[in-house]
């Protein structure tokens, strides 16, 4: 009897597991264990070998968490990431799972609210003991959960392009950090358009401010000039005063990092003020195909976006990815940069677990550096020692149908550098 109980505990994730549901499950499994032949019990051992820290791993399944906002103001942006992560997990399960175990997903809603993110992250790590979490979108939500992941030693795959200045053993950043996204784009616009003067405009929070700080240093280093730098609160919809300033200063390039719903007002008002983006160069680092849906292609056509992925990218991986995504989530769905980065998360985790031959967080963290994913829709990517990805930077030109024409891509992968010397 006692040995049966120990086995039941193993199945339920520890005798002190607080959830009655789990205990009941365990009790339901008790008689079944009595029926198992001796050999079956011996097979339980491999799970002990790949899971020494009591994560939610059984002989046939492994639990992971998805933590995004499915309600609130961020839901519109984060839904794409959830869909991409679920697609990747479904595909991995079809191929037989990770280390022979099917992935089970526990989804939690961060509700666009940073403390809720922290609470749910704690729940996923402490109660559910998930082996990895795919999630977060805004910098604020990442900052809120980071101490939780470090304290309880969890693994977060974070999909958004972000401001850098951060590096953690417990996070893999599958989006670009600021220098990767910004520098190549600035060099391209300088070379291609002969730009001398820039006007920086962004939403008022950490990502646009840090990005513009890096952009300004880079611009000034090359003897060019910043003729204006303006910030607006999140959700701001009155851009007429800054548009007047833009008309007065006549910058060669408008460099925009306005986020969320403000984008709709910004581009409509630019157009209404008679600024034709086919003549006035505008480069944005914050508009993906997802935002284009709200802005409307006719309002932004001609603008350049600088990031690592566009849905229109032509390579076999991407064609397969776009087809699978549309099959799973409907033909109308669009895929932006962050959605693609979300798709990378589960794949990178699978590859890392197989390299480490373990689900243990410490081993995953250690094995992450050097992981290569050749099936990435954006093309080949590789994980750097600093837990960011080596990736190419691309420039796309917005079309009226809501897609981008890729007009430039860097020849080589760009090294991630979250703490750039000379740019701080």
């Amino acid at each position: 009897m006692s040995s049966d109980k120990i086995n039941a505990d193993k199945l339920t994730g520890g005798a002190h597991s607080p959830l009655r549901r789990k205990l009941l499950l365990g009790m339901a499994a008790l008689p079944a264990i009595g029926l198992l032949p001796r050999g079956a019990l011996a097979q339980a051992l491999p799970t002990d070998a790949v899971n020494t820290t009591k994560l939610a791993v059984t002989d046939s399944t492994v639990k992971v968490g998805i933590l995004h906002s499915t309600t609130g103001t961020m839901a519109i942006s984060e839904t794409g990431s959830v869909q991409a992560e679920k697609l990747a997990i479904a595909q991995i399960n079809e191929m037989g799972g990770v280390l022979g175990r099917k992935i089970e997903v526990i989804q939690e809603d961060g509700a666009s609210d940073w403390p809720t993110f922290a609470e749910k992250a704690r729940k996923l790590l402490v109660e559910d003991k998930v082996a990895a979490v795919f999630g977060c979108w805004t910098s604020a939500s990442r900052k809120a959960v980071l101490p939780v992941f470090e304290q309880y030693n969890g693994m977060l795959y974070y999909p958004t392009f972000y401001e850098g200045l951060e590096q953690s053993k417990n996070v893999i950043y599958t989006g670009q950090e600021a220098t990767q996204q910004i520098l190549a784009g600035l060099d391209w616009v300088t070379k291609e358009k002969g730009a001398k003067t820039f006007f920086l405009i962004g939403s008022d929070y950490i990502w646009p401010r840090t990005s513009n700080k890096i952009a300004r240093k880079h611009i000034e280093m090359h003897g060019q000039k910043v003729v204006g730098e303006e910030y607006f609160p999140l959700g701001h919809t009155q851009f007429n005063s800054v548009i007047n300033k833009i008309k007065l200063t006549k910058p060669d390039v408008i460099y925009a990092s306005v986020v969320g719903g403000s984008n709709v007002a910004f581009y409509k008002q630019l157009k209404a003020a008679g600024i034709d983006l086919n003549k006035q160069t505008l480069m944005t680092i914050s508009v993906t195909e997802d935002e284009m849906l709200g802005i409307g292609g006719e309002n932004i056509a001609g603008a350049y976006a600088c990031m690592k992925y566009f849905q229109s990218l032509k390579n076999p991986n991407n064609e397969k990815f776009v087809a699978a995504f549309k099959k799973m989530w409907g033909g109308e769905s669009v895929i932006g940069d962050v959605t693609q980065a979300g798709y990378l998360g589960p794949w990178l985790w699978k590859l890392t677990a197989e390299k480490a031959k373990s689900f243990d967080i410490d081993k995953i963290a250690a094995a992450s550096a050097g992981i290569e994913f050749t099936g990435a829709p954006e093309g080949y990517v590789r994980v750097h020692e600093n837990h960011h990805l080596w990736s190419k930077t691309r420039v796309g030109r917005a079309r009226t149908d809501g897609q981008f024409d890729v007009v430039f891509e860097t020849a080589d992968l760009i090294e991630p550098n979250p703490f750039p010397k000379g740019y701080q």
Binding site: H16, P18, T70, T71, Q107, E108, D109, A111, D113, W114, P115, T116, A118, E119, K120, R122, K123, V126, E127, S139, A140, K143, A144, L146, P147, Q151, E163, L165, D204, Y205, I206, R209, T210, K213, P233, L234, F419, Q424
Partner: protein
């Protein structure tokens, strides 16, 4: 023998004390034994909102002043504590990768080169603790002075408090070099060298929080039972009569508004300690209204009801969002509509309607009205 007001006073006090003992037993014995540390920490977090709800019972339930800006005071209390903890977490050794070591990380990201002057005093825990209560109370005093002396009340007052909540949010978000902006103040680690992130610390903080809450309930009870408390009820029901009786109505209103602000701020400070960060998402209009809802669900006339209401709403929020990540907001909406339509006096009203009469039958000697606050029928309905 006729019942003197005095004996009735003590009879009711006994009923309330029994209720408080029951709550204390629940918070200090039952929940810690029944829940693991993760869930207990969450209950601790909910209980910090109960401080706000207590303040609202006095301010709104007793005195009839509806404030839709209690998040302001919760937030300021929380920020005062967070500033102290952040400075402790930003020692030059811990922040040596920054361009300016020794200042909080978000200041460094915003190109600040030195600590702003108003951050300096927060190196001291004593100052921070005093500031937690004093700053919100002072702000409430100024707002109260400006409003109540001019006889601004009712809906206008509610709207103005809401505007203040919006202003403060914009201020915090806009001044991110000084406040941490929309991210808030995150990654708080230690209190005087004591790591607040460990399970043991969370357990200790839970008990401190529960004890403080019980203390605050007793304090509120004292205020309600005093002459002051009865004047508050009187000015809720017939303000002019109180004024014509020679009382300066504004002073009483200012007092109760400051008192509610101070209570909220204590909750905010405990929130920061238990959750480990503070952000503008607790300051704005939405959280402020949510706090009013906690109070309404519990019953705005009952101190204990407010605590149970806060626990119930937050627990439901957590459970529903864990089980139905895509639908839970609808369920919460239905809950609130149900409360307003069917149980306007919240949980406490249900208790008085269905449970108290049965208890009364069990002990007929304690008098029929024991434990029930005097509610004029028309205020119960409005």
């Amino acid at each position: 023998m006729t019942r003197t007001p005095n004996s009735r006073f003590f009879g009711r006090l006994d009923g309330d004390i029994a209720g408080i003992l029951l709550l204390a037993a629940l918070l200090i014995v039952v929940l810690p034994l029944g829940l693991d540390i993760f869930r207990l920490n969450m209950v601790g977090k909910y209980l910090t909102y109960a401080f706000v709800a207590l303040g609202l019972v006095l301010c709104w339930g007793s005195a009839g002043i509806l404030s839709l800006g209690q998040g302001i005071f919760f937030g300021i209390g929380g920020y005062c504590m967070a500033m102290f903890l952040k400075l402790e977490a930003s020692s030059p050794e811990a922040t040596k990768i920054q361009s300016t070591p020794g200042i909080p990380d978000f200041m460094d990201w915003n190109q600040l080169k030195e600590l702003p002057w108003f951050w300096e005093p927060f190196h001291s825990l004593t100052f921070a603790t005093v500031a937690v209560v004093a700053v919100p109370a002072l702000l409430a005093f100024i707002v109260g002075l400006a409003m109540f002396k001019r006889r601004v009340g009712g809906v206008y007052f509610a709207i103005i408090t809401q505007a203040f909540a919006a202003i403060l949010t914009i201020l915090i978000v806009g001044q991110q070099g000084y406040t941490g902006g929309i991210n808030g103040i995150t990654d708080l680690r230690t209190l005087k060298g004591w790591d607040i992130r460990t399970d043991e610390a969370k357990l200790v903080l839970y008990f401190v929080n529960a004890a403080l809450l019980i203390g605050c309930i007793l304090l509120c009870l004292y205020v309600r039972r005093s002459k002051l408390g009865r004047i508050l009820v009187a000015l809720r029901d017939k303000e002019d009569r109180v004024r014509f009786s020679g009382y300066d109505v504004a002073n009483f209103k200012i007092f109760v508004f400051c008192f509610a602000a101070a209570l909220s701020a204590v909750g905010g400070a405990m929130f920061t300690l238990q959750v480990g960060f503070m952000s503008p998402s607790f300051v704005g209009i939405v959280p402020s209204i949510e706090m009013v809802i906690y109070c309404a669900v519990g019953g705005r006339l009952s101190l204990l009801g407010a605590v149970y209401g806060t626990l119930l709403v937050n627990w439901a929020k957590t459970m529903l969002s864990e089980s139905f990540p895509e639908l839970w907001l609808f369920a919460m909406g239905a809950l609130f509509i149900g409360v307003v339509m069917v149980f306007p006096n919240g949980l406490a009203g249900l208790y008085q309607q269905f449970i108290a009469p049965r208890l009364g039958r069990l002990r007929p000697r304690s008098g029929s009205g024991a434990g029930a606050p005097i509610i004029p029928p028309h205020t119960a309905a409005d």
